[in-house]
Symmetry: C2
Subunit: 601 residues, 2 copies
Amino acid sequence: MPTPLIDPWHLGFVLWDMLDAEALFGLPAFADHDRAGAGAMIETATKLAEDVFLPSYRLLDDHEPGIENGRVVLPAEIEQSLTAFRDAGFSGMSARAADGGLGLPRAVANAAFLQFQAANISIANYAMLTASAAELLAHHGTPEQKARYMAPMLEGRFHGTMALSEPHAGSSLGDITTAARLLPDGRYAIRGTKMWISGGEHDMGDNIVHLMLARIEGAPAGVRGISLFIVPRKRLDSEGRPSVWNNVALAGLNHKMGQRGTVNTVLNVGEGGDTIGEIIGAPGQGLACMFTMMNEARIGVAMGAVAHASAGYRISLEYARERRQGRHPDAKDPASPQVPLVAHADVRRMLLQQKAAAEGGVALTLYLSKLADLKAAAPGEAARRDAGLLLDFLTPVFKAWVSEECLAANDHAMQVLGGAGYTSDFPLEQHYRDNRLNPIHEGTNGIQSIDLAGRKAVMAEGRALDLFLSRLAETASAASGVTRLQSMAKRLVEMGTAMRTSFDRMAETTRTVGARAALARAHDVMELVGSATFAWIWLEQARVALAGKGTASEPERLRREGLVLTCQDVFSRVVPRADAAAARIVGEAPASLAIDDVMLG
Amino acid sequence: MPTPLIDPWHLGFVLWDMLDAEALFGLPAFADHDRAGAGAMIETATKLAEDVFLPSYRLLDDHEPGIENGRVVLPAEIEQSLTAFRDAGFSGMSARAADGGLGLPRAVANAAFLQFQAANISIANYAMLTASAAELLAHHGTPEQKARYMAPMLEGRFHGTMALSEPHAGSSLGDITTAARLLPDGRYAIRGTKMWISGGEHDMGDNIVHLMLARIEGAPAGVRGISLFIVPRKRLDSEGRPSVWNNVALAGLNHKMGQRGTVNTVLNVGEGGDTIGEIIGAPGQGLACMFTMMNEARIGVAMGAVAHASAGYRISLEYARERRQGRHPDAKDPASPQVPLVAHADVRRMLLQQKAAAEGGVALTLYLSKLADLKAAAPGEAARRDAGLLLDFLTPVFKAWVSEECLAANDHAMQVLGGAGYTSDFPLEQHYRDNRLNPIHEGTNGIQSIDLAGRKAVMAEGRALDLFLSRLAETASAASGVTRLQSMAKRLVEMGTAMRTSFDRMAETTRTVGARAALARAHDVMELVGSATFAWIWLEQARVALAGKGTASEPERLRREGLVLTCQDVFSRVVPRADAAAARIVGEAPASLAIDDVMLG
C-alpha cells in the first residue's frame, strides 16, 4: 500500500531530469555535496517521514494541545518526531556550512522536507518555522546573535517563531502597537499582545526564539516605524544558556479546524515583568528584515499545500484502484463484475486534477527552490539578482494560486471516496481541513494578489515580469518543435501576450483612474499569472518527459506519457481561466467596485 | 446582529415579486391558503429557527451521537427542536390536505424550511427525510400504508429514513444484495446490511420507518430486480401502534466531518430474528418508486447547501462591516483610521460570490418548488407534465452545480474572516465542514452529471431541454429591452445556442464513438448547464429587480440595485465557465479517456 508521501519517481524526474539540480553541485557553495548524497538524504527523509512522522497524524488531530497549570501540553509524539528529525541531521540542512548548517541546495532540502509535510504537517510546521527564523538571523543577525540564537536552532535545540500579528492588526501589520522601550544596555523592554503565534509556547527543546515586530517609542506610524526583535522565551546567560523566564505569557490558545498539532497562541509580553528583546537590523527596518522569514514561510506554506495535495492524491488513487463500483455506460449486463472506480472517466478526471496539482506543485516547489539556490550562489551578480527577482515574483503565485489548486485537489480526493472520504475512517477529511489553512496564513491569498498585482509586477522597472515572460517564451519555443505540444506551446505564447497586455492595462488604470480601481482586479491578475505559471511548468514537464521517453524503460515510458496527458488536462482547464481573467482585467469595472455596502443586504 | 438565516427581504422578493407565488393560491389545490397566511408561516419558521434550532448548532458538532448500551444517544436538543417544529405545525406542511397535511404550496413550505436548514442542518435533516418519506408513501403507498405509516409521519410522531446503500453498493444501487423472502401473509422477511443510513437508529418519536430497497428472491440482477419495502423499527399492531422490535440492529455509526447531529448508521436487518417488511408498489418497481423520495432528497440536499451559503454570507458580511483592517491603496497616511473590511474591493469580491450563491440558490429553490407545485396542481395535463419535465431536468443541476457554488461560498466566508474564520470562535468552519457533505450524499455530483448528460437531456425526446431553453429565451427576450441588461441577455442567448450545440454533439458522440466517450464529458455538461442556469436565474432576478425599482422605497431601491450588480458579477464569472465547458464538449477527447491507470503513478 502506497503511503501518502510524495512519489519518489516524480520527485527524481523533476529534480534531476527537468531541473538538472546536479549542476548545482558544480557551484562552490554546494561543492561539498553530490547527487548520491542528496538522493540518500531524500531517501532518509522519506523513510523517517513514514516511520516516525506519519503514525501520529490522526492522533494530533484528536488530541489538540491544551493548557494544564498554565502550561501548553502537547502530545509527546511531536517532540519525539522532532528529535528524530534533528538526530537524522535535518535541522539546518539548507543553512550555509559557514553558519553551522549542512549547506545542501534548497532544491534538495525542500524535496526532503516535502516528505515530512506530507506525512504530518503539524509537526513539520515547527521545523519549518525554526528553519525560517534561522534563515532570517543568518541574513540580518549580528555574529553574536547568530552564535547565541541561530546556532542552537540549526542544532535543533531552540525553536523559532514569527510573532507579527496582534488582535487588531493581522493583514495590516503597519497598525501593530506592541511597544519597545530602549534600555540603558542597548536592549529593549517589549510590551504588547501578539496573536496567531504558531508554536508560541510549549516545553519542547531548550528555548523558543520569538522574532517579534514592535514599535520603538517615538517611531513614526505605519510600517516605517516597525522594528524587529529577538525575544527569547528564556533569557540567555552570558554563556548562551537559557536561564530565567522572559515574561512571554500565554494568554490563550486558538482552536483551529486543522493543523491542530501546531499549537497556536495568544501571547502577552511585558506584563507583570520585563520582557527583554534584542533588536535585529536597524530601527525602522523591522518589516524589511522580517520579509526574509515571511518569504521563506510563504514558500513553506505553499509546500504544505502541495504536500497535502500529494497525500490526498496517493490515498484516493489507491482507493480508486481497489474499490469496485458500477460499470461502464456501455456495459449492458448487470450481472457482470463491477469495475474499479479508477476505470470511470469522471473519477479519472478528479484524479487528473489532483495529479496536476500535486506534481505541478512539486515541480514549482523545486523550481523556486533552485531559484533560491541561484539567488544565493550563482556565479555573477546579474544571475543572482535575476534569480532573486523571479523568485520574488513567483512567491505570491505559489503561495496563493497553488495553495487553492491544492485545496481543490483534496476536495476531489474526498469526492473520489464518496461518503467514506467524509468520515474519519480515512485521513482525507483531515487533509482537507488541514489544507484549508494554507490560503489564509502567512498573508491571506488576497494579500498575495495585491502583492503580485501592485508590487511584484512593477518592481525593478518590470524586470521580474520580463524574466518570467522570457521563461515562458523559452519553454514555448522548445515545445513548439514537438508535434504533440505545438498547440499548447501556442497557447502559452498567447498567455504571455495576455499577461503583457493585462499588466499594461493595470498600469494605465492605476495612472488614469487610481490604484483602488486597478487593485480591484488583483484577484484576476493572480488568476491569470497563476494559470500561466501552472501551464508553463506543466508544458516544461511534458517537454522534458517526451524528450526522455525514447530511451526510457517501459514503466518509465508510461509515467512520462502520464505527464504529457496530465499537461493536456491542465491546458484544457487553465487556459480558459487565464482567458477569462485577462478579459476581466481589460474589461469594464468589476461589480465589487460599484456595489455599496448597503446594497449587499 | 443579524442571525445566519435567510434574508427575509430577498425571500419575499423572489416568492412574491419574481415568482408571483400568490397566483398559486388561485389553484384549487392551494385555495385554502393565502399570501398573508403563507407569510405568517414563514415568519413563524424564521422565529422558531432562530430561537429553538440555532442555539444548539455548535453543541451538536461538539457532542456527536454515541452508542450507550447498544442504543444511539443523541443530545436532547434534537428532539426538543423537532417537537417544537411539530407543535408549530411544520410537519407535513406541504403534504396534501387529503393526506392529512397542511397543503401549503411547496414554494411556501420550502421558503420556511430553508430557515430551519440555515439554523441547524443536523436537526432539519430528520424533518427533511421524514417529509420525503411521507411524500413517497403519498405517491406509492396503499391507503392502508398511508394510514398506518404516512399519517404518523405527517403528525411528527414517526420518523422516516431512506435505506438504499450497502457496504459494497453505494452509487451502484443495482448491486445491492439485501434479500426479501415472501411470507405466507404477503409480507416479506428482509435480510442484509444497509450503510450510510441517516437517522437510522435513535429513540426519538414513536417509530422509525425505513424505506428500504431489497431484492426479492429470484429477482433478476440489476435495477430491474429491486423492490421497495416499508421496514419499521417497531412493528405496528393491528391498531397501528408500534409494538415489538423488528430486528433492525445497529451495527455501527459513521463518524463524519460535519452534520454530526444527524446520526449516520450501519444497520443489520434480519439477523437473529425476522425483520418484516411490506412491499410498496409492484415487485421490481422499487427504484422507480424510490426516485420520488430521492428527488425530494436531492432538492433537500441542495437547499441545505443554499442554507449554508446564506448563513455564511450573513456571518461574514457582518464581520466585514465590523472588523476594521487596512486602508485603501490610495490612502497615504498610515495614521488615518483603518477602514472596515467591507470597504476593500477584494473582500467585496468574496462577499459578492457568496451573495450570488446564496440568493441565486434561494431563487432556484423557490423556482423548483413552484415547478413541483405546478407539476402537482397546474390546470391541464400538458402544463403539469411540462412542469414535471423541467423539474426533473433541473434537479441534478440544483443538486450538483449549486451545491458546489454554495460550498465555494462558505470557503469565501471563511476567507473573509481570515484566521478567525478557521477557528471555532465563529461558526463558519462548521458551516464549511457541514456543507462539504452536500456534493457527496443523495447521489454524488458525478452521478448527477451523468444523470443530466445521459438521461435528462434526452428524456421525452429532448422536451425537457427544449423547455429549459425556452425559459432562457423568454428571460433573454424580456431583458434585451432593458439597456443595462442587454449585453447579458445576449450572452444568455449565446449560452442557449452553446447548449443546443453541445447536446447535439453529445448525441453524435454517443452514436459514433459510444456512451463512454460521451459521458467522459458529463462534468463539462454539468458545468455548462449549471452556469447557464445560474446566469438565467440571476438575469431574471435583475430584470424583475429593475422593473420594480422605480416605485420602490429608497432602501428597497438599493437592495434591488444590489441584485443587478450581483447579476453583473455572476455573468463575469460564469459566462467564461460555460464557454470553456462548451469548448471541451465539442473539442478533442479529454485526457481522462486516454490516460491509463498505470500512467497515473
